[in-house]
Amino acid sequence: MLEIFEMGFMQRAWLAGLLMAITCPLIGSFLVLRRQSLIGDGLGHIAFAGVAGGALAGCSSVVSAAIATIIGALAIEKVRTKLSDLADMVLAIFFYSGMGLAVIFTGMNKEGGFNLSSVLFGSLMTVTSSDLWIVAGLAVATIAFVIVFYRPLQYLTFDETSAKVSGLPVESLSLLLAILTALTVALSMRIVGLLLVSAMMVIPVACALQTARSFSATIMQSIIYGIITVCLGLVLSYYLNLAPGGTIVLTSTVLFVLSLLIGSTKKNNPVPDVHCKVCDEDQENKCNHPEFPEYKKEKGYRGHHHGRKTIKE
C-alpha cells in the first residue's frame, strides 16, 4: 500500500499535486467569482503562442511562455475594464488569437526542434526536483499575495465600483492578480499540465460554491476540495494505471456532482423582512402597530419639503 509514497517520482507527484491543490483554488476563487473561469484556458493558448515564438527565436520556452501569458493577461484585463459586460467575448478573442499566432509561429519554424506536447502538457509523474521548487515558490507567492491583500481583493471581487469609490487601487490589484494568474499558468503547465492547472482553478471553487456560506469559507473549502481531489485522483491513477491529470480532473467532476447534491439540501429559503416598521419589533411578537399605509400617514409623512421630521412615538 505504502509503495505509492515510497518511490521518488510519486513523492514529487504528491508534493507538486498538493501545492497545486492549494495554489490554483486560492487564485481561482477570485477568478471564478469575477466571472473569469475560462481565463486559465485562454492564457494556456497564449502560452502556446509564447512557446512556439520562443522556439522560433531560439530562447527558453518557459521564459517566452511566461512573457506571452503576462502580456496576454494584462491585455485581457485592460480590455475587460473597457468592455466589462462582454468579458467572456474578450477572453474568446484572445483565446483564438493566441492559437492563431501559435499556428503561424509553428509554420514559420522550419527547424522543428521542440516537442510542443511535452512543453504544454507535462505530467505529474515526470516532475523533477527543480520543478518542485518552482511550484513551491509559486505557492508561497500566491498565499502571501492573498493574505496581504485579502480584504481589498474581496472588495473588488464583490463590488468593483464601490471598491474604487473607497479609494482602493483597484486597477493595480487587478493587474497583480492577472500577472499572478499568468505566471501560475505559464510555469505550472509544463510541470503538471495545462488541463490540470485550468481545471484546478475552477472545479474545486465550483464545489465550494455549493456548500460555503461566506467568502472566507469558499476559499477554505475550495482548497479542501482541491486536496481531496488530488489525493483521490493520484491514488486512483496509480492503482488503475490511468493518466494522473485526467483522473484528478474527473475525480473533481464527481466531487462537484456530490457537492451539488449536498448544496441543494442545505440551501436556505430567503429571509422574510419580519420587522415592524414602527418599533422594529419582530412581527411574531405582535406589537399591534398599524400596517404601512397608516404608519406612513400617522407618523409624520406630511408632505413637508424641508426634511423628514423625526417620528414621535
Binding site: 467569482l33 496581504v148 491583500f149 480584504r151 481589498p152 474581496q154 472588495y155 464583490f158 463590488d159 465600483t161 464601490s162 471598491a163 474604487k164 469609490v165 473607497s166 479609494g167 482602493l168 487601487p169 465550494a208 460554491l209 460555503a212 456560506r213 461566506s214 467568502f215 472566507s216 469559507a217 469558499t218 436556505n268 429559503n269 430567503p270 429571509v271 422574510p272 423582512d273 420587522h275 416598521k277 422594529d280 404601512f292 404608519y295 406612513k296 409623512y301 406630511r302 408632505g303 413637508h304 419639503h305 424641508h306 426634511g307 423628514r308 423625526t310 417620528i311
Partner: protein, 239 residues
C-alpha cells in the same frame, strides 16, 4: 456654511452630445439633496463623477475645497450603489463580511482587522437591525434587507457624506418608506450630508432638503417642490 462638495462648469459627453453641461453645484454640510430626472438624463453619470469612478469631460469637482484628483480622505465618503447583490444572487459572502468591506481603506491595505474593527461592525449590525442575519448569505436576504446591509457598509466608517445611487430600486413600498425614514434620521441626527438619486418623487419630496433635477442636459437646483415642478414641466415622465 462649509461646502462639502463643489462642482464647477461640469459637463459630460459620451460622444453623442452633452449629457449635461455647465453644471455648478454647491452642497453644504448637512444638506440632503435628491437628484431627480428621467431615465438617461445623466443622474448616474453625475453620481459616478462625484464618486470619482468616472472623469468628467470638462469642469471640476472638489471635496472640502480639494480637487477630486488630489482628494485622499475617501473614508469620509460612503457610497451605496444600486443593489449589487441582486446582480450576483449566488455570490458567497455573508452580511458581516459585506459590512466589514466598508472599513477597507487605501491607507489600511496591509492592516489586519482586530477588536476595534469587530466592535464597529457589531455596532453597525445592531444599528441596522442585522445582528441576527450576520452569518446569512447576502443573496438570501430580501431587497429591503440587502439595502440595509449596503447602508450599514457605507455607515460603518462614520462618513461625513453619503452618495446613494438609486438605493430604493427593486424594493417593496414598505421597505422604501423604511429606507427613506432611516436616511432622514441619519441626516437629521448624525449630520451626514446626503446626495441621493431618486425616482420616488413623493418620498424624496418629504425627506430631502433640496433637489437637483436634470432634464434635457439642463440642471435645475433648488427647493424640492420647485425642482419637482420643473421636472413635470420639462417632461419628467416622457423624455
Amino acid at each position: 456654511m462649509e461646502n462639502i462638495i463643489s462642482v464647477r462648469d461640469l459637463g459630460f459627453d459620451y460622444g453623442s452630445g452633452w449629457v449635461f453641461h455647465k453644471l455648478d453645484l454647491d452642497i453644504p454640510r448637512g444638506d440632503f439633496v435628491a437628484v431627480i430626472g428621467a431615465n438617461g438624463a445623466g443622474k448616474s453619470t453625475l453620481m459616478k463623477m462625484l464618486a470619482h469612478a468616472m472623469p468628467p469631460t470638462i469642469g471640476s469637482i472638489s471635496y472640502y475645497g480639494i480637487p477630486i484628483e488630489k482628494f485622499t480622505e475617501w473614508e469620509k465618503v460612503g457610497y451605496v450603489p444600486q443593489n449589487p447583490a441582486k446582480m450576483q444572487r449566488d455570490f458567497p459572502i455573508s452580511v458581516r463580511e459585506v459590512i466589514a468591506l466598508g472599513l477597507v481603506e487605501k491607507k489600511k491595505l496591509w492592516q489586519r482587522f482586530g477588536a476595534a474593527e469587530d466592535e464597529k461592525i457589531d455596532k453597525a449590525l445592531a444599528a441596522f437591525q442585522l445582528t441576527d442575519l450576520q452569518q446569512r448569505k447576502i443573496g438570501e436576504l430580501s431587497g429591503g434587507q440587502q439595502q440595509r446591509v449596503f447602508l450599514a457598509r457605507a455607515m460603518v466608517k462614520n462618513p461625513e457624506v453619503l452618495l446613494l445611487d438609486e438605493p430604493a430600486t427593486g424594493i417593496d413600498a414598505a421597505s422604501k418608506v423604511a429606507l427613506y425614514d432611516m436616511l432622514g434620521e441619519i441626516n437629521a441626527n448624525q449630520g451626514v450630508t446626503i446626495v441621493m438619486i431618486s425616482h420616488d418623487l413623493e418620498l424624496a419630496a418629504q425627506t430631502a432638503k433640496s433637489a437637483l433635477c436634470i432634464s434635457h442636459g439642463i440642471c435645475f437646483r433648488g427647493d424640492v417642490h420647485e425642482a419637482l415642478q420643473h421636472h413635470h414641466k420639462h417632461g419628467y415622465f416622457y423624455r
